[in-house]
Subunit: 269 residues, 3 copies
């Protein structure tokens, strides 16, 4: 490394890219910390869809180096009594509203401290009640990047909101889970991962029930291991079971959406 660099600041919002909102956050950050390194995670989170924001952030966060500051703003409660918070984990910092958007990503890294951001006068002269992304979260991230300690922004708190993801349920020989996310390729990403998947080998055949469709699917190693347009099951790049179509859109075939129930059974269950 040839020069001293600041921690990265990432941004995840439902602000879209057409309006000026994302640029305003960046302008504020660069005004406070001129050599900040800002990376967009996504600004195309569905409006007010906290769960989707939480999922996307949790997918992105593990790829960033230690010390990264993740700002996430999907914030229907902006200006009401929901708290602005700063979470310190073993790996990173998470800044945003206390509505669950930060928690999924933060818990995977081991939460060490959670602070309510109350000292907003320290952060910025004027704070609107409609745009905390610009007026609280962005400046907090920038000051943190400048070296102002997490405990300076407000008191430590113990309670914070958990996002609403379902656990996997076993029903006889079937596992019942849910669709976490449908990505822009139409891949159906499920919450089967980690311990459930240890028992599944690539090349196993599993029985899947999703919506009105029941199918037996072979687990492939690569999308291209199936024929073009063929439905397949695969362990995706975040370690979750995905239902996909090689060079096609699985979500269209299954009419699948996030939060849909999916049932999986396989020989060794």
């Amino acid at each position: 490394m040839s020069i001293m660099v600041r921690p990265i600041i990432t941004l995840t919002t439902d602000f879209g890219l057409r309006d000026s909102y994302v640029a305003e956050m960046k302008g504020v950050i660069l005004g406070i910390c001129p050599d900040a390194r800002i990376v967009d995670v996504s600004h195309e989170i569905e409006k007010f869809n906290i769960r989707m924001g939480a999922f996307i952030l949790a997918c992105a966060a593990p790829s960033f180096p230690k010390g990264t500051i993740h700002v996430a703003v999907v914030d229907p409660g902006v200006g009401t009594k929901r708290k602005p918070i700063l979470i310190q984990t073993k790996q990173a910092y998470f800044i945003g509203p206390d509505n669950g958007i930060l928690t999924l990503a933060a818990e995977k890294q081991g939460i060490e401290h959670v602070y309510e951001i109350t000292k907003t006068k320290l952060i910025r002269t004027e704070v609107s009640s409609t745009f905390h992304g610009r007026d609280i979260f962005a400046p907090t991230a920038a000051h943190l990047t400048n070296g102002i300690a997490p405990s300076m922004y407000g008191p430590e708190i113990r309670d914070f909101v958990e996002p609403s993801f379902t656990s996997i349920i076993r029903n006889k020989d079937r596992l019942i889970g849910e669709v976490l996310y449908v990505d822009c390729f139409g891949n159906i990403i499920t919450n089967f991962g980690g311990k459930e998947l240890k028992k599944i080998d690539a090349s196993d055949e599993i029985a899947v029930k999703l919506g009105k469709v029941k199918l037996k699917l072979r687990i492939t190693r690569a999308y291209g291991d199936a024929k073009e347009r063929q439905i397949l099951a695969i362990i995706g790049s975040h370690g979750f079971l995905e239902i996909s179509v090689n060079q096609g859109d699985a979500s269209e075939y299954f009419k699948a959406r996030a939060t849909d129930t999916i049932m999986v059974s396989h020989p060794r269950n």
Copy 2:
């Protein structure tokens, strides 16, 4: 600040993000000024919608630090006799076509000098007549970032194009204004702001006529102060009166679009 940093260059265009045009501008900038800091404001301005570009730029510019260089290119007249210009204000620089896109933002900051960019040979060997974003505006910004003074790019001029925004008209007890912009949340941003709004308090009730809809609306402090899906009026993050729906889309309800007329009356008018 640990290192010397260049002024920020922001980009506002109607080029979209699918094609290579924005990247070409960035490549040219970084070829001239390798440590330029480039921030996208928006590339999703509606094609040829100068007014929308002017509005988005005027929203973004106040959040950027002193010395920022704003490049804006919505340019149906590229290659014709419309002038490429550089505006110097008390706060920043604005570079783009002389068609009104720069003026709204620049005038708010106090215009000091306006230059026509004529010395294009100084800027770049070859200049196309179809892509001044890449061939004139980007290199001008990069050279300016490198320290070449504004007066070096061409002669100072006195006349420049003003964007077409409507003033507020008083008609008895009613104020008649217009819709400036509908943001991606469906918030209807009007041109009631500053002096008109001083008389309006949060919690006041106002009567609004917009399209075929007449309504009495309470002015709330935060979107979440209204019930879910309830219509509300609010002073938005840029100081303008907005008509919004808490966690919904007000523009859909009112079928509102930029330039629509809106009438507002309230008790103390």
Copy 3:
């Protein structure tokens, strides 16, 4: 230039901007090379459309300075036996799958060496078979930026995949070419360029047949030289003949799409 800067890394993918994939690539790059300068070319390449990715990259690459590292990932064959490759040209480096996406841009610059990327353990501990953008191409680019030589990533190879673009055919007094791309303005970019166009002057009239439409068109110098909504022919910013509508959408009028055949004849052919 006030500080030592790393070569630029550009990214061209079909990953879209909604999901976390692009951010994961950037996180990996910045983890390996903290002061990397990353520029997005486009993430809106149509899913699996290698030809479109190749065209967009070839449009963008000439605007970037010498030494730039272009990463392009449109990769339906990810995890199968298609090779990850690194191409060194006289001007730049190109990293991506060996499916033709890199070749059009690289050949224009003069290819010097092509390497198969095999030493993936050198690059990253774990490599998925579904996301080489994050696990092979991004880290290769970052290590290259850090100064690890191209020959370190694997053996030099001689064969690589060429993209499928059509050559221009002469049929009596007509030239038969194809639509390379329709940009987001609806400009129809054809493969008539370079040697074919030397004979065409601005202000010439050409006869065009595209889809079911036959038209005589004047070649204008600027879009705005035609009347509003008028169809025109123009030499675009990448040196190709374009069929356009001043402030309108030519592709809608002609129902034109990439790979469509276009016939052009003009007096001096």
